[in-house]
Point group: C2
């Protein structure tokens, strides 16, 4: 176990990265089902079994991919929300979250399916492994949305929630970051997620295709309705001041 054994470890990291990259490319081309060890190995010019040296099992590889994709989504949303957090526009975070979420989903439909659909035959791996990390980031972004909207939405809210309705670990992360957000505000964040998730998943999976040719118009209309139902102004601060 030499301390200077950096070279082989670097090679190993590169090969690992290439495996994941090829797997993502295969998934983008043919869906999650196209992630087969043989196909990856074929693409890389090596044997399928060699991959077992990098991932204990195919599900491990898939789990890692899910984590990576989830992280990418979290990055996208966090970036979009940083640009919208000017404080003058309480609807900004909602619009940023919604736009980033749908935009990323439409740009990476296979990744969206991998994370939010049935991944592949196998099961989800770790029962508490790496996925929650990125999922937590997504949830915290949602809470930022809820925190921005809550002062406006609170008078309209009729939900009856308390902290015991939510995961204890989640609560510990939320309360320090958003001390002003009550349980009903957390619920609001999750509701906004579900609210917007529906149209996106229907669009990604093609279930809207038989009905409308303008899913974007539908989504924008729904977003406007969401903003209105939250008591938020429909557009930026300029219009709100008029």
């Amino acid at each position: 176990m030499g301390v200077t054994g950096g070279r082989r470890e670097r090679l190993r990291a590169e090969t690992t990265a290439e495996i994941k990259q090829v797997a993502l490319a295969l998934m983008a081309a043919g869906g999650p089902d196209a992630i087969t060890l043989r196909a990856i190995a074929r693409e890389m010019g090596m044997t399928a079994n060699a991959i077992y040296g990098y991932f204990a099992t195919r599900d491990d590889l898939v789990s890692t991919l899910i984590h990576d994709v989830n992280t990418e989504l979290a990055d996208t949303i966090e970036t979009a929300m940083r640009g919208a957090a000017n404080g003058d526009d309480p609807g900004g975070p909602v619009r940023a979250w919604a736009g980033a979420f749908r935009g990323w989903a439409l740009a990476n439909p296979q990744g969206f399916r991998l994370v939010y659909g049935d991944p592949v035959p196998g099961y989800r791996a770790p029962e508490g492994g790496a996925a929650p990390d990125a999922a937590l980031r997504l949830c915290l972004a949602l809470m930022a949305v809820a925190a921005a909207a809550w002062p406006y939405a609170a008078p309209l809210d009729e939900g009856d929630f308390d902290w015991s309705d939510f995961d204890a670990g989640l609560r510990e992360k939320i309360r320090p970051a958003f001390p002003e957000l009550p349980p009903a505000g957390v619920a609001l964040g999750l509701r906004i997620w579900g609210h917007l998730h529906g149209l996106v998943v229907l669009e990604i999976y093609g279930h809207l295709r038989a009905q409308t040719s303008s899913p974007n118009k539908l989504f924008q209309s729904e977003l406007a309705g969401l903003l209105r139902s939250l008591g938020l102004p429909p557009a930026g601060p300029a219009e709100r001041l008029i």
Copy 2:
């Protein structure tokens, strides 16, 4: 082509029904991926290839299952909505639709996945076959919801839709049944679908499990918010008259 060949046709129909029933049982037990011809045949005590006499291909079988499940969902929703169409409660259809949709989804999560998720490796079959039938029924139920809510929601609606935004065949079915419903009302129906679909799909796929232990409370809260945003009374006509 004898006219009296009823016996064999009856046997054939029975075997066909048994194949589908076994396939649904397998799906309920192990997810859509568990639908394998071999497993079905094993369960029925015959050879996998014998199924090719009843279904040209495995995808044909899956398509038929999707159609059956979709029909069951449409039946459930239509029944629930018939019970809510007393005319005195404009929010009744929305609540009936939402309750029936989520209730059916929770009672048949595998069926829900089959219809609204990635079915199985293979493709969807007919590009215009049997599935649209049931999908149309679901859509018409949605339009009944929208028609009941539209007189209340219209003043709040800010969508800008016209008929060209929707499928021509769909329009022909909608207009005779709901002549008072403008394009924005149709969009409202689809939006309600997407609105409620999101939380249900997140719950079915387990993505809410890490956050909340009360998905039902969350859904009811969201439903109340939907009713409010539509300008509808939150409960039955009794409360509305107060």
